[in-house]
Amino acid sequence: MIAVLLFWQLPLVYKNWELLASVILLASLVIFFAGFERSAVSSREVGVIAVMAALAAVLRVPFAPLPGVQPTTFLVIIAGYVFGSRSGFMVGAVAALVSNFFLGQGPWTPFQMLFWGLAGASAGLLGQLLPKAGNTAMLSFSIAWGYLFGWLMNLYFVVFFIKPLAWRAVLLAYAASFPMDTLHALGNACFYLLLGPQLIKVLRRFQEKMTYVEG
């Protein structure tokens, strides 16, 4: 549909990058949530997703004194890695949405929902492709998402607020956010090193308990 739209009204789209960007943003959120709606989820899965999302949301606050450092991304990634893409996306997206009920919804909510959701979903994909991914792989994955989260946010900032689009603006935005992104990535790395393998073990064990059937 987006492709058709692109060809049909190329000049309009070229003039309204932000329109295209919002359509892509909303469409991807709808697609992911619709996927969750269509799937058969058990009450335990619903409980776990809600708990992980609430935990990730609550832990946004106590780390506020350390700029850029929060365990939310880390928690979303390990939840996605253990429970799969669908649950990972839901944990990330719901954590962003729900924490903002308390901290204040803003134009940033859909972006945080999508990008944290994507972090969880991609971690689920990683878990599927490399179920035995070692610490190095997971560590570099967490660091990568620290940067990626900031970069995706920048991309949207530039698309929405700088017009006409100038490469200098893109460069400047990325340069300005680099220290913050580095802190975010370092935070992710620290949390993974301190807690990662242990928490993954806890979650794996819990997942076994969740799906255990007497037979």
Partner: protein, 308 residues
């Protein structure tokens, strides 16, 4: 911070509208500044948003949003002329800078930045109003019609947040009783102390999730078609507010397409107001302010309140 929702019950007119009606109004307040970049229109929309916050009694809660919005708007206003070289009225030639090239500050780029800043402010105000007038439960209630699994997860997580925040502070107190000082030590040490908390919290939350799941199972989760119960009434005032907002949106799109609400920034600023432009602005503003006028009427005129 996480103990209380940002929504506070104020008995305001907008808070008691049907969720769909108030969301339509908020959606129009959010879309209008994206559709129209004309400075006068942006000012009008901003005025409507701020007035709505004022009559909903949410000035205090919205202050942080307003302050942040103004700073962001100023930042966009300053950054745009530095990055964009378009425009014919040059105010200042700057020195040659590495990477960026020669600075060329134009009046048009500053004005465009100001308009974009105002647009951003309008959007932030619309969100501040959303926080003040829509209870999260009403929102999840509306979505539970067609996305009940996601809505269930969202409302469960919303319920769990204050409890989890309390668990976190009690876990922290327990650690402090054992002599852990969270405010001392190097960055690494502090991070380590907080990580312990995180682990404790995760373990206890996971236990809690099993209990939640069992409670849901006991209440028949997933045992058949789900019934839906809604307590919200759709009253004439809801239809009136919806109609006003949609009319404002339709008129704005029409005015934009026909060119009544256009404003050229580059290469030279256009005229601010000319011909029928102001009439359109007036009509759109009237539609936007209509729900607020109704709210005022309902408060001061019991007869109107009983009729709609």
């Amino acid at each position: 911070m996480l103990e209380q929702l940002s929504y506070k019950e104020k008995d305001a007119f907008l808070q008691h509208l049907h969720t769909a009606a108030v969301l339509t109004y908020l959606g129009v307040l959010l879309l209008l500044p994206l559709i129209i970049a004309h400075p006068l229109y942006l000012m009008g929309i901003l005025f409507a948003g701020i007035l709505a916050i004022y009559v909903s009694g949410a000035v205090e809660e919205s202050m942080p949003f307003l302050v942040m919005g103004i700073w962001l708007a100023l930042a966009v206003m300053v950054v745009n002329p530095l990055l964009v070289q378009n425009g014919s009225t040059v105010l200042l030639y700057g020195p040659d800078l590495p990477l960026v090239g020669r600075l060329r500050i134009t009046l048009e780029a500053i004005c465009y930045g100001a308009a974009m800043g105002m647009r951003l402010l309008c959007i932030i105000i619309a969100f501040a109003l959303y926080n003040a007038v829509v209870h999260p439960d009403k929102m999840t209630g509306l979505f539970s019609r067609f996305a009940w699994k996601s809505s269930l997860v969202v409302s469960l997580a919303t319920r769990m947040i204050p409890a989890t925040a309390r668990d976190l502070s009690s876990a922290k107190e327990v650690q402090q009783m054992r002599g852990v000082d969270f405010s001392s030590g190097s960055f690494r040490e502090r991070l380590k102390k907080y990580s312990w908390l995180l682990e404790v919290l995760l373990l206890s939350s996971l236990e809690g999730s099993t209990a939640t799941a069992e409670a849901m199972q006991a209440r028949g989760f997933g045992s058949g078609r789900r019934s839906c119960y809604n307590r919200e009434l759709a009253r004439p005032r809801d239809y009136l507010c919806c109609a006003g907002s949609v009319l404002a949106l339709v008129l704005a799109i029409y005015a934009r397409v026909k060119g009544y609400a256009d404003f050229t920034f580059y290469p030279e600023l256009g005229a601010l107001a000319g011909g029928s432009g102001l009439v359109w602005l007036g009509v759109i503003m009237l539609c936007l302010l209509f729900p607020l006028i109704l709210g005022w009427g309902c408060r001061h005129w019991p007869y109107l309140r009983s009729r709609i």
